[in-house]
């Protein structure tokens, strides 16, 4: 008699246990997945013209169009994309961000980028240090030079008219020589 009672009790407990655990069984997806292999050309890009005014400074070893993710913050933490090189001494340079990609960063994702500049460097080797670069021109929206223009890139589209003027006689405001992080 006791055994029958205990067996019933045991069966009941098993059911309680299963009822409590079943929600777990259906609560999960698979978590992270491998990223898909990209197929087909992605035309997400931007293009425009860089115009140089005045005489080029001497000793320039490289000139690039550089895209940053934060306004007026020129450092490796905010670096998003590099176009170039722009040949020394030219007065105009027409570009497309895919065709003229430097290759250091493979692609530029869709999004908004508040600081697009032309930067020049005199160092023999490519350097990521801020002090090795000079900003020669800044992208402004439709002539509004109060604030750097925001580059808006949409997936699968080509944004045109991202034109930058580099006036060597009237250079733009330079970002801090070393970005002052809060910890510094």
């Amino acid at each position: 008699m006791i055994n029958i009672y205990m067996n019933r009790k045991f069966n009941k407990l098993i059911k309680i246990f299963l009822i409590l655990i079943i929600p777990f069984l259906y609560s999960c997806d698979k978590g992270i997945e491998p990223y898909p292999v990209e197929t087909g050309p992605d035309i997400t890009s931007f293009e425009g013209k860089v115009t140089f005014v005045g005489a080029w400074p001497e000793g320039i070893n490289r000139t690039y169009i550089v895209v940053f993710s934060e306004p007026s913050r020129f450092d490796v933490n905010t670096l998003q994309y590099i176009i170039g090189p722009i040949p020394y001494g030219v007065s105009e340079f027409n570009y497309n961000s895919i065709e003229n990609n430097l290759g250091l960063i493979p692609k530029l994702a869709a999004g908004e980028y508040p600081y697009v500049i032309v930067a020049q460097s005199k160092t023999p080797e490519l350097s990521l240090l801020r002090q090795d670069w000079t900003v020669a021109g800044i992208y402004f929206n439709q002539g509004n030079t109060a604030l750097p223009g925001i580059l808006k890139i949409e997936q699968g589209k080509v944004v045109s008219g991202i034109n930058i003027t580099c006036d060597f006689n009237n250079p733009p405001v330079q970002p801090p020589s070393r970005w002052k992080m809060n910890y510094e």
């Binding site: 407990l13 098993i14 246990f17 777990f24 590099i82 992080m181």
Partner: protein, 728 residues
């Protein structure tokens, strides 16, 4: 795999042949009473780990028949009363009936804890949040390393092997800790990186693990700024006991075909043997462990051999001396980051074939003397040598020696007033091509008092002074006061509140590391690194409306100054820097329920964490905002069923810049998700001959959920293990 099966078979044969040697049988008898000396009818008395048992009659009498002579543990349970376990009953010819008294059932609240004040206190009296976990979990979940168990403690999180309490640490690749991890109060962080080598924790000799949540620098110093984990070891057995455990396991296939990199199943196995006994006044315990893990990832294997010896000698009733020695030899693959998310179980090409060999030795001596009923002293001395060498890795060798001495005195002025004070000196030297060869010196003194205003109100007050000198850095001084209050509003409701300051000195690794991190990124030293300080506050309560339900809730806030974090600098280097201000706030909530006494238990813990880098107004890295842990345990007859759930919300902030061009140190490193891990365990207790056996089948991550605790590191995929253990 064949070798593993052969091994298990061989071990089983040895164990079985030993246990069939028993001869004479007789009945174990006794009486069971409640605390008022009334006989208890219907109490179950079972020999631990067996099916042998009986129920008490109306006179409280029970009789377990036909039992071979030997030494047994008895478990006595009846609804409404606390389950009792009586160990080492010597059952021989002249056995007298037992007399057993049971106490009313309740969720444990009055457990003893020593880590809150460096002397024995009841949990219901302390002023800080704490958790105590027993060693049973190691068997039930086939845990071979302590950090695995800590993953299931509310308020504690472990990313890879780095432990954090209430979000005190993110992830810093083994450099530094904000949790004071100790064995019998003696810290086990290394002298160079300041990390915890979890393999050095002697989990086969654990009596209990005490966890203090929140800053405890005023008692434990620099590394306790986030909390304390103190492993209390067992006293040696009074009769010779040998414990043997062996296990073997296998990893399942990964979820995606892209991740399959190996044709055969990856396996792991281990064996450990412990013997403990006593010769007059000398108790001894020694163990040896071997653990081989092929790992589910390429070049992530781990092979380790460790030995442990503990001697405790009672000089007389007032004096004792304890020695603990530990040795670890380990060889492991150097899997640092995945190649990319499509090759998540394969290391980066640059890390292939790299291995790390290491050996570690730890020795400690504890001398205790009771001078009078009110005054006692304790002297603790330890030495920890750590050595590792990277094979195929440039600049990765380090040898450190850490010496530490501490003198503690405890004065019980009267029944209401206790003062604990101490002085500590430690010194570490490092020889390395990774952190140069710095030395580290610290000296400190502290005093901590507890005063009971009444039966309802208990207060604590503490102050510690530390002087720290790290090689060429200027010496640092820190004063860390602390105060707390415990108020028993009623028998059911206990409030606690505390205020604490903390400080943490940078480790040699954080200051002096200079190495190539790959992808053109250098880890550079920062000789200007300052020590960090904290100011914290918590208020909490324990509410136990009935005996079988307990709630514990706490709100906490910690403000940090000069918080040390690794950061990608504007020059493109990784460097440990001081964040001027950081704040971590949160709520802890845990509940334990005895749904059916002796049969069904449930516990759940929730932790909400708001960790902010105040100056940059960003979440702090690698800290999940929501975490949930729960377990359900069902123990009918000789079976044990257990399931555990672990949930982390998706980590908001990571080192994004390391995961994309132009750095791209960890390709696809931003690929992360919330963590939902479910484990299952099924156990069965039985007896062969006169020896109890336990067998467990464990399924970990049974839904094969894919997640990372740290970027570019896929956590263990589904795996199963079978473990067998016995003692005789």
């Amino acid at each position: 795999m064949n070798n593993i099966m052969k091994y298990i078979f061989f071990a089983a044969i040895i164990l079985l042949s030993y246990n069939f040697l028993s001869a004479q049988n007789k009945n174990i008898t006794g009486f069971i009473f409640d605390k008022d000396n009334q006989p208890l009818n219907g109490a179950n008395v079972i020999i631990s780990g067996t099916n042998f048992g009986a129920a008490s009659d109306i006179n409280g009498y029970f009789e377990i028949k036909n039992i071979p002579f030997g030494i047994y543990d008895l478990e006595i349970s009846v609804i409404g009363f606390k389950k009792e376990k009586i160990r080492n009953i010597k059952f021989y010819e002249l056995f007298e009936p037992l007399r057993i008294t049971l106490r009313p059932e309740s969720v444990e609240t009055d457990q003893i804890i020593v880590s809150a004040g460096k002397y024995e206190q009841r949990i219901s009296d302390i002023t800080v949040s704490s958790v105590v976990i027993g060693p049973e979990i190691f068997s039930k979940k086939n845990i071979v390393q302590l950090d695995e168990a800590l993953r299931y403690v509310p308020g504690v999180s472990v990313a890879l092997e780095q432990v954090s309490i209430r979000g005190s640490s993110g992830y810093s690749k083994g450099a530094g800790t904000r949790v004071f991890v100790a064995v019998d109060g003696i810290p086990i962080y290394t002298g160079d990186t300041g990390e915890i080598v979890w393999e050095m924790v002697p989990i086969t000799d654990v009596e209990r693990i005490e966890i203090i949540k929140g800053p405890a620098s005023s008692l434990y110093g620099s590394t306790a700024i986030g909390g304390v984990i103190n492993i209390i070891t067992k006293k040696a057995a009074s009769e010779p006991v040998t414990y043997i455990k062996t296990f073997a396991g296998v990893y399942d296939d990964p979820s995606y075909d892209e991740w399959k990199w190996n044709k055969s199943k990856r396996t792991f196995f281990g064996v450990e043997a412990v013997h403990s006994s006593r010769l007059n006044n000398l108790g001894y315990t020694f163990s040896i462990k071997r653990f081989d893990n092929d790992s589910y990832r390429e070049n992530d294997f781990k092979k380790r051999l460790s030995g442990y010896l503990k001697l405790d000698y009672d000089i007389d009733v007032n004096k004792s001396i304890t020695f603990i020695g530990n040795y670890l030899d380990m060889n492991r693959g150097n899997f640092i980051y995945w190649k990319d998310s499509r090759n998540a179980l394969i290391p980066k090409d640059s890390d292939r074939d790299q291995t790390v060999k290491s050996d570690r030795q730890f020795a400690s001596l504890i001398y205790k003397q009771k001078f009078s009923d009110t005054f006692s002293g304790e002297f603790k001395s330890s030495y920890y040598r750590s050595n590792f060498e990277g094979i195929g890795i440039e600049l990765t060798t380090a040898t450190s020696n850490l010496f530490r001495n501490e003198l503690i005195t405890t004065s019980k002025i009267n029944d209401k007033f206790v003062i604990v004070s101490g002085v500590e000196v430690s010194y570490a030297d490092v020889k390395s091509n990774l952190f140069s060869s710095p030395y580290f010196l610290s000296a400190s003194a502290y005093v901590h008092s507890e005063y009971k205003f009444s039966d309802k109100i208990n207060s604590t007050l503490g102050l510690r002074y530390d002087f720290i000198k790290l090689d060429t850095l200027a010496g640092a001084n820190a004063l860390t006061p602390r105060a707390g209050l415990n108020y028993k509003y009623s028998d059911e409701l206990i409030f606690r509140t505390s205020f604490a300051t903390g400080f943490r000195a940078p480790t040699p690794a954080e200051v002096f590391t200079s190495a190539d991190a790959g992808s053109g990124i250098m880890v550079v030293e920062n000789p200007n690194l300052d020590y960090e300080t904290s100011l914290s506050f918590e208020i909490g309560a324990i509410y136990q409306p009935v005996n079988f339900i307990k709630f514990d809730a706490a709100f906490f806030n910690t403000d940090y100054n000069n918080f040390i974090e690794p950061l990608l600098t504007s020059e493109g280097n990784i460097q440990f820097v001081n964040l001027p201000k950081a704040r971590i706030q949160g709520v802890d909530f845990t509940t334990d329920l005895i749904l059916i006494p002796g049969l069904l238990n449930f516990s759940v813990g929730y932790n909400y964490l708001w960790a902010r880098d105040i100056n940059n107004n960003k979440a702090m890295k690698y800290r999940p905002r929501n975490t949930v842990y729960s377990s359900l345990e069902f123990t009918p007859y000789s079976f044990e069923f257990r399931t555990d759930l672990r949930y982390w919300s998706k980590v908001e902030e990571i080192d994004f810049n390391l995961t994309k061009p132009p750095i791209n140190l960890i390709a696809d490193g931003e690929n992360r998700a919330e963590v939902i891990v479910v484990d299952l365990s099924i156990g069965y207790n039985f007896v062969i001959g006169a020896s109890p056996f336990k067998i467990y089948l464990n399924g970990k991550n049974i839904f094969n959920y894919n997640y990372v605790e740290f970027i570019g590191n896929l956590s263990p995929i589904r795996n199963f293990s079978l473990s067998l253990e016995t003692y005789f």
